[in-house]
Symmetry: C2
Subunit: 338 residues, 2 copies
């Protein structure tokens, strides 16, 4: 049995990785935060702040900042906090290192489905190097900025091994971050991946000034499609109705903190995707997610009219106004059938 | 079998009654719009606009404006569009009149539960005078202002009699207002009533600047409580996951159009309920709803921790900050259990 988690490695020094490092350092864990940009990691140590990805948040003392994977020391848990498209490459580079294989659990904090394989992130982790280790997911409606600023937040840990889940839950929780747990790893991962494209669509509706009634209709249909698709892929319906499904969906659809939402708004206003992607230093997971989810639905033979329209906007230059009109106007056999 | 609905009476000339009159007049129905304020109804006729409740929206030609219940002429359907607390009195006054008894269907557009009886609005209609007539519900995430301005909207008609539901669906739908139907009247009514208190809570969280993560956690738990309570009261879970449940919930929780949301925001900022109610000409249904739902839950023996805290704020002077803190911090046995 794994002991309590007292030390963690966080791979990825973006906003969420930095926020997690801050929270866990404040609750007394030994924290190593790795980022591939040596200059950025040096600046974090010197400034006590991640000015690029989490500006304005003072980081607590004691975090070790590192940009050499080989220099990391063994820890009880490894958190993988990189964009979903980069996870496999990072696991291939780092997964065989001694500290990685010595960890009691690997935790995926990435929301997405791999394009080439259709795999969930924990499946990618297992296949690419974590075969023998417990894998878990940390997900939920968690804007990094708010967690880092101490605002009340609820998250979800998903792990098939309940003993590991309980330890992870204890490690991540703090007075303002409450962490629930579930054994439904598939449901937690499909919910987290699917909400991103739907948030793009809600953002487009907002950018097009379609109104709150239209956005409510879109969000409702997004949830129905998420459940229909996600259950086929092995998740449990109740998981999609919880924090990692509908909770993450609504906050991403309505919050201006969300990069996916903001990108959708800009697309709705007529800006071009290529220009938006060039101008942004952060990755809006919804763009690659839409492609991998569209492909996964095709392979599984699931009807996903919303994903199809979002795909058409992002990859086939369909005007957002036309896509939304087609979505809101199409005949639906009965509510819930999509 | 009832014929197609070609004429309607709309009782209540607030924003939603006026918007419905506008939509149905534009699709060629003969529309009589009744309001109890003779001066307002005269002004509607003269101005072609409801400056008090739906300012800026030009009403189509052909609507008959009336302030005398006895002067209304027979029509195929009667829409009752009054605050839930006034419905019984209006049915008692008007339900026995010839046009009311001659109608093919009564449609409740009120969202609430009667305080004294714990009855749903269609149950109140039946008991107070509509015993022999088909009763239906029109509900969903439908801000009147947006419907009146022609923005895409999805609504729900609930009626146990499918033939009547199909006719109502046809009568209310227009190119920008899509109307779905369900036979689950209880689910549609409990969803519509419950979302109002939860929107007050989300508003309070916003007024207290608790952040989007906290609001997402609240909305998720609101949905879980809505389903748990509503299923005990006879609704089907799938109805609460549709437009009349989660759809109406999220738009009321996130939209600044919503009176309940705005009232919650003001309470969260420290304003006093009595002052807010005095200053407003519109009824925020969430205030009486909270009391009747709290009582109904007590009678049914259902655990409703969210409703209890909202009740404590509105009726027992509990500070919103304390209520929200207690809600976000309390121990939850497992996600979904509330």
């Amino acid at each position: 049995v794994m002991a309590a988690i007292e030390s963690v490695i966080i791979l990825g020094a973006g906003s969420w990785g930095t926020a997690l490092a801050s929270v866990m350092a404040q609750t007394g864990k030994r924290v190593q935060l790795w980022g591939r940009d040596a200059g950025l990691m040096r600046a974090l140590g010197e400034d006590g702040e991640n000015r690029r990805y989490l500006p304005g948040v003072r980081l607590p003392e004691g975090i070790l900042f590192e940009s050499e994977l080989e220099a990391l020391q063994a820890a009880d848990a490894v958190f993988w906090v990189v964009p979903s498209g980069y996870l496999r490459a990072l696991v291939e580079r780092a997964g065989a290192l001694p500290w990685a294989q010595a960890a009691g659990v690997w935790v995926s904090c990435s929301k997405g489905i791999e394009l080439s394989s259709g795999m969930r992130m924990t499946e990618v982790m297992r296949e690419a190097g974590g075969g023998g280790l417990p894998c878990a997911v940390l997900t939920g409606p968690n804007h990094a900025e708010e967690v880092a600023r101490g605002l009340a937040t609820a998250a979800v840990v998903a792990c098939e091994d309940e003993a590991v889940a309980i330890r992870l839950q204890a490690a991540v929780s703090c007075p303002w971050l409450r962490c629930y747990r579930t054994a439904d790893v598939a449901g937690a991962e499909w919910g987290g991946a699917l909400k991103n494209p739907y948030a793009l669509a809600a953002g487009m509706a907002k950018g097009l000034s379609l109104g709150d009634n239209a956005i409510a209709a879109l969000v409702t249909r997004s949830l129905a499609e998420m459940v229909r698709f996600g259950v086929v892929m092995g998740g449990r319906a109740e998981t999609f109705y919880g924090l990692s499904g509908v909770g993450d969906l609504v906050t991403t659809c309505y919050s201006s903190h969300s990069r996916n939402h903001r990108l959708g708004v800009a697309l709705g206003r007529g800006e071009k995707l290529a220009d938006l992607l060039r101008a942004s230093s952060m990755v809006a997971e919804g763009v690659p997610n839409t492609k991998s989810l569209y492909e996964a639905a095709r392979r599984a033979g699931v009807r996903v009219p919303l994903l199809n329209e979002i795909f058409a906007v992002l990859y086939e230059e369909k005007p957002p106004a036309l896509a939304l009109r087609d979505l809101l106007a199409r005949d639906v056999r009965a509510e819930g059938e999509g």
